[in-house]
Amino acid sequence: MINEAANPGEKSFYQVSTNKHTGILSWLLTVDHKRIGIMYLIAILSFFLVGVVIGLFMRWELMFPGKTIMEAQTYNTLFTLHGVIMIFLFIIPGLPAIFGNFFLPIQLGAKDVAFPRLNLLSFYIYVIGAILVLVSLFLPGGPIDTGWTFYIPYSIRTSTNVSMAIFAAFILGFSSILTGINFVTTVHRLRAPGMTWFRMPLFVWSTYATAWIQIIATPVIGITILLVIIERAFGVGIFDPALGGDPILFQHLFWIYSHPAVYIMILPAMGVVSEIIPTFSRRTIFGYKQIAYSSLAIAFVGYLVWAHHMFTSGMSDTSRWIFSLLTFIVALPSGVKIFNWVATMYKGSIDPQVPFLWVMSFIFLFSIGGLTGLVVGALATDVHLHDTYFVVAHFHYVMFGGTGTIFFAALHYWFPKMFGKMYNKRFAVISVVLFFIGFNMLYFPKFILGYMGMPRRYYDYLPEFASLQLVSTIGSWILAGAIFFVVGYLIHALYKGKKATANPWGGVTLEWHIASPPPMENFHEIPTITHEPYDFSQLKEMKYGE
């Protein structure tokens, strides 16, 4: 499946165990950051595909007005599960846990993360959280039906298995916090000699900023979840208005975590974009420091905008305009990144390989997502659009068009390095095109439907929405087809793909200086860094440069 030897006479990390075991146990008990990254990839990709299938069923139900294939309660359960799986099991851990684990130490010139055993513990906590989500589906009471936001008061009234499902999110939070602590410590303590802060690749910068959000924001959702469980069990009256509690307090606490969590999702994706664009433009990144600082700025300002989810919830008018203003401010560092990426490509020697095409798709989709974010971030328009399909479309353009697209970009960019095999590039180009068409067919009609007044999370709809709903459902088939096609040819490439060279794209960050797949502990000796991260003059002197 994997290259027998990374290079003649050299064993890859697939062939060397970090423990005394061989076979499956050598994986399950490994402390190697690359193997843990691969295990995360298998787990997270599996849950992502489950989320896709659930989404397909939801779209099938919505293809025609009235009941199509399921009852209303089943639909309520499915959209909740789709949200919980996609948010907590796919998109939050996705890029940091898979690619952060695999590449952060390598890009820093380190042999592993700072706490390898803690890293394995994070993985198992993730697995335990995921199992709890699955168990909650089959216990008496039935699967959770609150939506992924678990809003009070419904979440303390419904008889479905809310407590167990949200406890799973509580457990998953610990995995996120421990990963964050590991990455912050690794960046501070394990940089190779000469790897100064401003020689770190931008993927490291963005993962570092993300790790801080994971550490500071995640405990808030942990406490909030425990309070909901206590409220359900004992009726204390913290959030329940019937007992004198404040349901808006729940929304504050929920979004104090969940809005920064949006930046946990998108920041690493922005880091990947900052890696791919210079590599395929053969040009050093434009405004390196501005991009690095903008990651920190997004991480910080991202904390201060949470209540823009609550403009119609009944909070104070003062809060509404303050949070609207802050929301517009967070668009600035995001804009800095977009302009710098475009400026990097300007007069570059662009080689439009597959990862670059995914990134182009990202810039288009994420720009639509970002700009429509300003529409719902403005008070007056939000009153009209709140809780409509417009918000669903905006969110999917940002998260799926943004992070989801970059998940595939990263997979295609680093696949040869991770597995030592190259996929079929023609298939890959077809998949990007299909993905792009399917994505826009699925989600763009939702902007129009939302503007027309179609509420989110509704099982049924008025006849005038039928044609756009149908277009959206057909789009879901094309999009899902593209995703399964990608998974298919990548699995095929693992077994039958051509052997990948060490540096198939002509990258210059440290992962491209070592063999594909990398050896155990990455480097025979810790490198001394003498170049800026995107200095392409290195290519001539690189051992594996092509």
């Binding site: 801080w212 201060l304 104070s316």
Partner: protein, 96 residues
């Protein structure tokens, strides 16, 4: 990080006991104040006492006072973020 200066690291037993007594005293004040009607200042006073207690625990029991500056920066970033979150939440609570 090096831990070769253990004497300096935790402070003397006298300091630790004094801080412990101080924390108990502040807890008693919190309980006492809860029984007095301070109107709109009740929450502010409770938060202030809790902040002072946290300061003692973080600095003395968690050894941050004796650590490298980078750890103090870390704590400060977290503390400032928490403060800003409190502040922004109060814009809703106070003006609702």
């Amino acid at each position: 990080m090096e831990h070769n200066n253990t004497e300096k690291h935790g402070g003397s037993y006298t300091t630790l006991v004094l801080v412990w007594i101080g924390l108990l005293a502040l807890t008693s004040i919190t309980v006492t104040v809860a029984g007095i009607s301070l109107g709109q200042y009740t929450l502010f006073v409770a938060l202030l006492i809790a902040a002072v207690k946290s300061g003692f625990v973080i600095n003395i029991f968690m050894h941050i006072k004796f650590e490298e500056p980078i750890f103090k920066v870390f704590i400060a970033v977290s503390g400032i973020t928490l403060f800003v979150i409190f502040l922004l939440t109060f814009f809703d609570f106070i003006y609702r």
